[in-house]
């Protein structure tokens, strides 16, 4: 083969029988080249570097090769080593240099450091298998093949306004015994449940962090039950390029890369996009008391935001803050996302505490953050969805003002808060709710409704069912005396705190869940549903389940039957949205009839048609969408009328008149018991009374005019 004849693929040096030569500075990381592996690692301020090589799983390295001085280019050490067993190899680095924390320098040559660009990490191969704490090298860099057989697959590029996002935890989705699967809690098990996702109707899964993290981080005992509390959510990255081995049934064979890619390929075949929740705001190394895993020992002051005294800024609330707008770190983030987009065919990214990505190296918010701009204009990421959690733990709240560059969408925290308050019957919410159901033009006037990721619940906080079963959080099981988790839940227990046998309360709770889903799925913008909310998943009032690897977090598949009314309603309302393009506009309403249909694109109503009470005391409004304006008038759809009555008594709503050839049909009425609460989209019954509808207390009614 041609490539074997190149003279730069022959060794020039030897160390204890291992042959090597000067390597290539780029790309960073360990790259398989003909006959060997090219190692390249960045570190400024260090004085020397040693490559440390292990046979897989062995306690001690089989070789340590110091980089000769002439192998350093700028601040990059590079070396090609020959004749390595690339499947059995684990590698790391020792970095020598000054230890002077007040100057930001924390070099320690006794530590073996992971490669930030490692594509596979060993050491936590199987979920919750106790690690050997005495191991000199805990998180071991390994090599990955990049030759997956994708066949015809590519990212789906579904228009963002057509997405229905399902936020899910890889382990939690199938770990419950009721999933009935063999490899519970893994990528492979999700693959077995794709038919469920298809039936539900979602077309995008957003996976909670799948970058390698350590579930044992800060593990401790539950003071009540003695159970082990772990880092279950995984918002604490050990390595940005490696998938979590413990999420793969084949992790113990080091095949997590293949297993994850296979899952993505299968999801794509079924029309479901894959979005990753990525955590670039901090790392698992914590503050000065935390472990030295990689970044701290390689180049502390480059990778982290430091105070003038050399301590760690803590805008993430977790000990340290990644220095994202340092050019080196910015490039790492870019390299990482490009890798996931190109090698794993990922369709989009949701950035945890993304406001941090817009802070300068001294922590001050930037008006034009280079990282956010680079991501927005990157050629490889050009078709990926970019979604920001537009706030951080340092008090920066940017919902509506996140630097977007025409690309970025946001988790709309205001949507969540307004909808929750409206649902529990707070006064003074109608004005805001009108903005929210329109895709929040008050926040995103220039960016369009697709900037708004709408949600009412997410992993962080109460599950949707618990929002109507608990007034207060009940986080005792987290072992922090119920001090952790948010207090502003805007929840309402419907008259009893926690589980009850009272049928009226239980009916109301189910109705409220349906109300929430109904409003979410008919709002302009991009809806996101939390895993399990479609079957009334409960966390027993715990609103911060980050450490609970148990039934508080696992999807209980038996609820698909025990709460069949919720599942059927969810499934139908999701598919209703998919059938009606008028619900999925990429531009804001114009409030007039620009296609000559006789109706404005959107109109607002109340108990009187064409008259909407937006006053402080109102808890009620209705809106009508004109189907002739669907997708800016390009597609013809039905008329859709939605009445929302969050008042505690039933109210008669006068219906707006339709063109003579059309009639009103009932799609949903959450006040009715199942199965009369909603109908299969397309086969809705006609209304007897075409002029008025009695909307029950705390109920949502959806009509179709066709």
């Amino acid at each position: 083969m041609m490539v074997d004849n190149r003279i730069d693929y022959y060794p020039t040096h030897e160390h204890e029988g291992i042959k090597f030569r000067r390597g290539h500075a780029l790309p960073f990381g360990a790259t398989m080249v003909a006959g060997g592996v090219n190692f390249s690692i960045f570190s400024s301020g260090s004085t020397a570097c040693t490559l440390v090589l292990f046979e897989r799983g062995e306690a001690l390295p089989f070789a340590e090769i110091p980089f000769p001085d002439e192998f350093r280019v700028g601040n990059v050490y590079c070396m090609t080593v020959f004749d390595l067993n690339y499947e059995r190899l684990e590698y790391g680095y020792r970095m020598d240099g000054p230890f002077n924390p007040s100057a930001g320098l924390r070099f320690d040559k006794t530590a073996i450091l992971s490669d930030p660009y490692a594509k596979v990490l060993g050491g936590r191969d199987t979920w919750m298998v106790k690690p050997d704490w005495d191991n000199v090298y805990q998180y071991r860099s390994r090599l990955a093949f990049e030759d997956f057989d994708w066949e015809q697959d590519h990212p789906l590029e579904t228009p963002i306004e057509d997405l229905i996002i399902y936020e899910m935890h890889v382990r939690g989705f199938t770990q419950h015994e009721s999933s009935g699967l063999k490899n519970r809690g893994t990528f492979s098990a999700i693959r077995s449940k794709i038919p469920y996702l298809k039936e539900l109707g979602v077309n995008c899964v957003e996976l909670l962090p799948i970058y390698e993290f350590d579930e044992w981080e800060n593990s401790r005992q539950n003071p009540v039950t003695g159970e082990t509390l772990v880092n279950y959510w995984g918002y604490s990255t050990v390595n940005f390029f490696s998938p979590k081995a413990g999420y793969a049934a084949t992790g113990k064979f080091g095949m997590q890369v293949d297993e994850l890619k296979t899952l993505i390929k299968e999801l794509h075949k079924n029309g479901i996009e894959v979005m990753l929740d990525v955590v670039f705001n901090h790392t698992a190394e914590g503050d000065q008391r935390g472990p030295t895993i990689s970044f701290r020992g390689l180049d502390n002051k480059t990778y982290y935001m430091l105070t003038p005294e050399g301590y760690y800024f803590n805008f993430s609330g977790t000990g340290n803050t990644l220095n994202c707008n340092n050019p080196v770190v910015r490039n790492m983030v870019l390299d990482c996302l490009r890798y996931w987009a190109s090698e794993y065919h990922i369709d989009g990214f949701r950035f945890d505490l993304a406001a941090i990505l817009g802070r300068a190296q001294n922590g001050a918010p930037l008006s034009n953050p280079p990282l956010l701009e680079s991501l927005a204009y990157d050629p490889v990421l050009a078709k990926c969805k970019l979604i920001a959690e537009a706030w951080d733990a340092g008090g920066l709240y940017q919902v509506g003002s996140f630097p977007a560059y025409g690309r970025w969408a946001e988790w709309n925290g205001k949507y969540r808060d307004n909808l929750r308050k409206f649902l529990k019957g707070d006064a003074g919410e109608v004005g805001d709710m009108i903005q929210r159901i329109m895709g929040s033009p008050d926040l995103y006037s220039m960016r369009g409704p697709t900037a708004s990721i709408n949600f009412v619940s997410c992993h962080d906080g109460f599950s949707l069912y618990d929002m109507f079963a608990y007034n207060e959080k009940h986080n005792e099981a987290n072992g922090e005396n119920n001090n952790d988790g948010a207090n502003d839940n805007n929840s309402w227990n419907c008259g009893h705190e926690g589980e009850t046998d009272d049928p009226a309360i239980n009916f109301l709770r189910h109705k409220q869940v349906k109300n929430a889903l109904a409003i979410l799925l008919v709002s302009q913008g991009v809806p996101m549903v939390l895993m399990g909310d479609e079957v009334g998943r409960t966390q027993k009032g715990n609103n911060n389940t980050y450490c609970q690897d148990n039934e508080l977090n696992w999807f209980d598949w038996s609820q698909q039957e025990t709460n069949a009314d919720l599942y059927t309603f969810s499934q139908r309302i999701i598919n209703f949205r998919r059938q009606h393009p008028v619900l999925r506009s990429s531009t804001h309403f114009q409030y007039w009839d620009y296609v000559g249909s006789g109706y404005p694109d959107i109109s607002f109503h109340g108990t009187k048609a064409w008259s909407c009470d937006r006053s402080e005391s109102s808890r009620t409004f209705a809106f009508m969408l004109c189907g002739d304006h669907a997708k800016q008038g390009v597609i013809k759809d039905d008329m859709i009328y939605v009445a929302m009555n969050m008042y505690w008594g039933g109210l008669h709503f006068e219906l707006p008149g339709l063109p003579p050839e059309k009639k009103w049909y009932l799609f949903a009425n959450t006040d009715m018991p199942s199965p009369g609460d909603c109908f299969v989209p397309g086969s809705e019954p006609i209304l007897e009374n075409q002029h008025e509808f009695l909307v029950g207390s705390r109920s949502v009614v959806i009509l179709i005019g066709r």
Binding site: D147, D149, T186, T250
Partner: protein
């Protein structure tokens, strides 16, 4: 006028794998595949009754075979042990190969 038919029978490549296919033995396996690819077979039949482990590198040889010999190549894995079937299934390769109890 004379009439003739050129009939071609299927070309079948057969390999028996035993013990463990790891990154080292996978190289041998791959060399064997490359040799056979030169004959452009229609079917690749792997007898694996006594195969106890196949690593990532081993699985890749199967993908390599498909890419080298064309996607029309039918691959048969004959009488694999349960652990081998599981590995193939979890990594999704079962769509690319035919797992059979016996090859007739």
């Amino acid at each position: 006028m004379s009439f003739s038919i050129l009939a071609e029978t299927k070309k079948i490549a057969k390999i028996t794998l035993m013990g463990e296919v790891d990154s080292l033995s996978a190289r041998e396996f791959q060399k064997e595949i490359e040799k056979m690819a030169a004959e452009s077979p229609d079917e690749l039949v792997l007898f694996v009754e006594n195969l106890t482990f196949i690593s990532s590198a081993g699985l890749r040889v199967l993908i390599f075979a498909k890419q080298k010999m064309g996607s029309n190549l039918a691959i048969y894995i004959v009488n694999p042990q349960e652990s081998i079937v599981e590995t193939i299934e979890k990594t999704g390769l079962q769509h690319s190969v035919n797992i059979v109890d016996q090859y007739l």
